[in-house]
Amino acid sequence: MAFATSEEVLEAAVCVDLYRTMVRIRSFEERIRSEYHADKSPGFDIGAGRIPGEMHLAAGQEPVAAGVCAHLRPSDAVTATHRPHHVAIAHGVDMAKMAAEIFGREGGLGHGRGGHMHLFDPAVHFSCSGIIAEGLPPALGQAFAFRHRGGDDVAVAVTGEGAANQGAFHESLNLAALWRLPVVFVVEDNDWGISVARPASTAVASNADRAAGYAMPGERVENNDVEAVYRAAGRAVARARAGEGPSLLEVHTLRMWGHFEGDPQTYRGDLATVEDRDPIPHYRDRLLEAGILDEGSVEQIAADAAAEVERAVAFAVASPEPDPAAATSYVFA
């Protein structure tokens, strides 16, 4: 099975929004990257500095987040992975509170308890998890609850191509299909699961081929093409909203940076071509060429994004450190 393919031309406003979302994400990720590394030297001490711990950034994967989340409303749920920022931003998670959480501050989404892999924003039904593929099952439950209360809200579960070989993936797809839950499964195929290349993890060339095993539509988008993602996600979300059940969407995307910050990527043969494959300049050029953007609006979008990120980081660093005396709070409600 596959989605009906419709190659309709997107409205200019939609294109601009997609571009803006990608720029906002990149702007955030670049800033977090530089904040993260700012005070970890000499050498590199993972636990040191204003942002300690593991840091998984999503530069290059913006087309997935932008293209999928463009179809969502705040009442729709999204569960993301250990690499969550791009999806969070695209789905409207409060950027300042997210930054504060990443900085481990009291003003963070989780008052500094969660950290960058554990971002929860109930206002937009967003969550993520550091355990591979284990964000899928909760998305089923959100979808279940949405259907229970009526309306046409949906849940989107994002996962990596490496994660698609975890048992939770299989169980979740089957159960979602069986109960016709309004879920969209999105696989970000960035070629790598840490250092393991996709052909060394996955017996099949496209996860879309696995959809047939659950009698659901499956589609793979090539070339990290944000408009193609937008179109395919639109079909999948519409299907879910219409009560027709779940769909699986795989996007061939790009991990521009290391798996986590500090990853030497010595295992990686494709590094030389990464910059050329950056989806944002490509899309910018396309929109410029099509006359949908001009140099002024490109600059404006960049400036707005930088300002937004600046405000978020300013909020974060202004927020107090959590009080160690309250370290054991929030275990139970």
Binding site: G110, S127, P137, P138, A168, N174, L175, A333
Partner: protein, 348 residues
Amino acid sequence: MTVVDQPTSRSPAVPPRRLTMAKAMVEGIASEMERDPSVFYLGEDVGAYGGIFSSTTGLLERFGPERVRDTPISETAFMGLATGAAVEGLRPIVELMFADFFGVCMDQISNHMAKIHFESGGNVKVPVVVTSAVGGGYSDAAQHSQCLWGTFAHLPGMKVVIPSNPADAKGLMIAAIRDDNPVVYLFHKGAMGLPWMSKTHRALGEVPSEAYETPIGKAVVARSGRDVTVATVSLSVHHALDVADEVAADGIDVEVLDLRTLVPLDREAIVESVSRTGRLVVVDEDYHSYGMSGEVIATVVERDPSLLVAAPVRVAVPDVPIPYARALEQAVLPTPERIRAAIHAVTR
């Protein structure tokens, strides 16, 4: 397995009613399902079958397939589904058919369900009840006889309740459903009063008809005594009471403390009892090491080692998988014989 029982007498003219633990548990679930439309039950064979251990008998008929849902054998998916549904305001009860199966879905329980409230800085609540059958004694062997409450209780973020009798089974169920936290509710097959399993004469008990909560986190003195405290949970409470009756003849006055909840543990009740008796036996159908028995002993001595006038004794499964053959299984379970020997040892 189900052999059809007589329907429970519900005539208000003849109180007190005596129910099995299974029926009391179902009554607790049903009363909350009636009261609160956000409560639903899901798991394997909980619908038409009514629960392999009768944990849901009659619920499908009463509440329909939307609220009493059979699942595929996909514990990770449906545990996580319960979590997600709870996050969005429903109150799922989700059954793991045997606690022994925890290992196929423990990530969803201990890393997700139990931690989300904390990780979200209190912004997200996860009101799920995880029900599961525990315990051996009927030759179901190494993968279907474990108690494993020590495993659940060791990991933060979930409460752990273990009713030993029908009244607590109902009251703890209602309390668990109303609790805004994940609560693991472990019921012992041998205490459910199932018609197809040999049972203790204590299997039936009085159960008030109205809804009530048994407080989570409170132990109860099931029998008060002066000479030795037997701290325990679940089916072993019955054995301890039986043995207490017996050794009373030898002049030993046993106090039986039913812990009822492992998380939060009622440490005060333990210390208070032992400070009166000076002697402690812990009976634990879970494995001996790194579990409940050690925790209870440590709870006493970290308060004051001199509370104990004799070395405490543990009666637990001696760190061995549960054997199949009856004689072998009986040798490793905390049988009345072993409990009696421990009481004698500690009061010698």
